[in-house]
């Protein structure tokens, strides 16, 4: 178990180095001069350019630059500064990450609730009405684009029936005073309903299908027959014997999907104008703000690696074959 964890962590570190290095190389090889961007584009003065080049370390070879970047990251815990606004990226990214995390974590809870109940029910009663309806839902969920779903939801729930707001984010801990923005837990929840629903539909569809298949497969396992032969009631068979085994691959997928989504649920954030990482990334591309993009990549890499690690630990906890190997 210990060896397994150490191995996983070392792998995560190695991957982190590789991914950041590759993005670093790609961004700083791009035919664009960060110094010029910082000095106001085409009208940049020579002096300003020289100063900026030196300050940003652009005159140094790339491996030195990478080393400096790592050093800032590890020693100063800093993601650097935006080229466009010169603001500290730490704060900006944290601000955005809060929004994205609200969306993704809430969405994940929603999609797992849907997928577990519908998936398990479908597996227990294949070809029933619910199962067939679920298959239609899966088809729609997988094929429909989130932007399209978002627009439909906004139109009906927001505009036509006026049940929910259709845009903006409300801070869970209250909006800054005098900002005139909504805040507090209730407003947060109220504003997130549609984004969650939109974001969760695709994943719910994928997970219904996966959970249904896994549960059906596990129901046919010999040890399930053994449990029934012992006289275990169906409820116990399902919860104690089937689900734990059927959830193993689901846990893996869930960890990866959450990690990836934290890198930016671009479409959902755009439709509902949520100031999350996805929108920040879109903005940074438009503004040619490489530093911000790099920071977002670093952040999402860390998120993905972190959630993969969580999955590994969970997996070992659920499956003794890994824990004890």
């Amino acid at each position: 178990m210990f060896r397994y964890l150490v191995r996983r962590i070392l792998w995560a570190l190695l991957l982190f180095l590789i991914i950041t290095f590759v993005t670093f190389v790609i961004f700083f090889m791009a035919p664009q001069d960060p110094a010029r961007a910082q000095c106001g584009g085409d009208q940049a003065s020579r002096a300003c350019l020289e100063l900026a080049t030196e300050k940003l370390g652009l005159d140094k070879p790339i491996y030195i630059q990478y080393k400096n970047f790592l050093k800032t990251l590890v020693v100063d815990h800093s993601l650097g500064y935006s080229y466009a606004t010169r603001a500290s990226l730490n704060e900006a990214i944290m601000e955005d990450a809060r929004v994205t995390a609200s969306l993704v974590i809430g969405g994940a809870v929603l999609w797992m609730l849907i997928a577990l109940s519908v998936g398990v029910y479908s597996a227990l009663r294949p070809r029933s009405l619910v199962d067939r309806a679920a298959m239609v839902f899966v088809l729609v969920g997988v094929s429909a684009h989130p932007v399209w779903i978002g627009l439909i939801f906004s139109y009906f729930f927001g505009v036509k029936w006026g049940i929910t707001p259709i845009a903006n984010y409300a801070n869970f801990f209250g909006a800054p005073p005098d900002s005139g923005l909504p805040g507090g837990p209730w407003q947060w929840f109220y504003h997130m309903i549609l984004p969650w629903a939109t974001f969760a539909i695709l994943f719910a569809a994928l997970y219904v299908r996966m959970i249904r298949a896994n549960v059906m497969e596990t129901l046919n396992e010999d040890f399930v027959r053994t449990a029934r032969a012992k006289g275990a009631p169906e409820r116990r068979v399902l919860f104690s014997h089937v689900l734990r085994n059927a959830m193993l691959p689901v846990v893996t997928m869930l960890g990866m999907d959450i990690g990836v989504a934290l890198g930016g649920a671009i479409f959902t954030e755009s439709v509902y104008q949520l100031p999350g990482l996805g929108r920040e990334a879109v903005g940074a591309i438009a503004a040619q703000d490489l530093a911000t993009l790099q920071a977002i990549v670093v952040f999402s890499t860390i998120a993905i690696l972190f959630f993969n690690l969580v999955v590994d630990v969970l997996y070992a906890w659920i499956d003794p074959r890994i824990r004890l190997s």
Binding site: R3, V6, R7, L10, W11, L14
Partner: protein, 364 residues
């Protein structure tokens, strides 16, 4: 090697010279790797650990042993589906362990293989005609028309309808699929066929069909078989000589009747006594020599004789220290045991007493 006075070690096996296949001190180790990012070998699974024997033309050598004894690995080394780690395999006087892929090609026509699982060993997307004809095409033996005629001939030889040429494997039952496997192995007119548990997956009545078929083919085409199985009844039925393996090593080799009537190795004895007899009167008199525990791991095989932790005749200070060589018992009968059985049948406690074993009797 029949009657030497000195104990003959397995690696000193001397072939008589007229064998079709001579396997000499063959070893197959699978490395075990461990490491956090970079893998390094920290040990090895000694699946086959120094096995020597020879087979004469037209003979059937049965190889018997329990799961994990290395019999299937040995089979794969013989036909070079696996490369052996050490030792030599001489087929018609030529060591094939060192041959390149190209040099192996003509030899693959001379020795073929039949596999255990008739479901898994046939490509489900190919027609039977293609499956059987493929070896002919690979070796460029005939025009498409000739191949087709030959395949239909083969189907008839193995007792299938030649008109089923265009069917897919799933349209056949288990027994018929194994016939297809036999036809494929026969297609190139081999001299040697290595059969790896060819009937273990089949029902008794179908098993008898395949065993009879293999015997008939041997008579008709003068085939030589290496026949691997865990079922002692089946091995006895088909073999001329039998080799018993335990944990990658030879425990005993003898011609069939000698091995089944006068086994010398306690493991052979235990195996024979464990076979249920399909006769209520005889069967219920049978007192199996129940071995303790399970087969140990081939990663860290026991010291001395590999069978010593489970052997009823175990003598401390000898069996666990000195690896027994293959002692000769006349007429090519050899057994790797310091305290060979004096007679047969023997009961478990007789076995113990006769050798002055240091092992206490334990109930099953």
């Amino acid at each position: 090697m029949a009657t030497t006075d000195v104990a003959t070690r397995s690696e000193e096996f001397t072939p008589a010279g007229d064998e079709l296949l001579v396997v000499q001190d063959v070893k197959k180790y699978f490395p075990i790797t461990r490491g956090i990012i970079f893998q390094k070998a920290i040990g090895s699974v000694k699946a086959v650990d120094g096995v020597s024997f020879g087979i004469k033309q037209g003979e059937t050598l049965g190889i018997v042993g329990e799961s994990g004894c290395g019999k299937s690995t040995l089979a794969r080394c013989i036909v070079r589906l696996l490369d052996s780690t050490d030792g030599s395999i001489t087929f018609e006087g030529r060591d094939i362990t060192k041959l390149s892929r190209m040099q192996m090609r003509p030899i693959r026509r001379e020795m073929t293989m039949i596999f255990q699982d008739p479901y898994a060993s046939l490509n489900p997307r190919k027609r039977v005609g293609f499956i059987i004809g493929e070896p002919l095409e690979v070796h460029k033996l005939g025009t498409p028309a000739e191949v087709k005629t030959r395949v239909q001939e083969l189907l008839e030889v193995v007792g299938l309808n030649p008109e089923h040429y265009n069917r897919f494997p799933h349209e056949f039952s288990g027994g018929q699929r194994q016939r297809i496997g036999v036809a494929r192995a026969l297609a190139v007119n081999p001299k040697l066929i290595v059969c790896d548990e060819p009937v273990s997956a089949l029902d008794v009545s179908v098993q008898a069909q395949i065993l009879n078929l293999l015997k008939d083919l041997q008579d008709d085409f003068g085939l030589t078989y290496v026949f691997i199985a865990h079922d002692l009844n089946v091995v006895r039925h088909i073999s001329d000589r039998v080799l018993v393996m335990y944990l990658g090593k030879i425990a005993e080799v003898a011609d069939r009747d000698t091995l089944y009537r006068e086994p010398k190795h306690p493991y052979t004895g235990a195996l024979l006594s464990a076979v249920p007899i399909a006769n209520p009167e005889l069967g219920r008199q049978r007192e199996p020599i129940v071995l303790e525990g399970d087969v140990p791991s081939p990663v860290n095989p026991p010291s001395g004789c590999r069978f010593h932790p489970r052997c009823p005749r175990f003598v401390e200070g000898h069996c666990d220290v000195e690896d027994p060589p293959l002692y000769p018992f006349g007429a090519g009968h050899v057994a790797a045991c310091h305290y060979p059985l004096e007679r047969w049948p023997m009961k478990a406690d007789e076995m113990r007493r006769a050798s002055g074993s240091s092992r206490e009797p334990t109930p099953a």
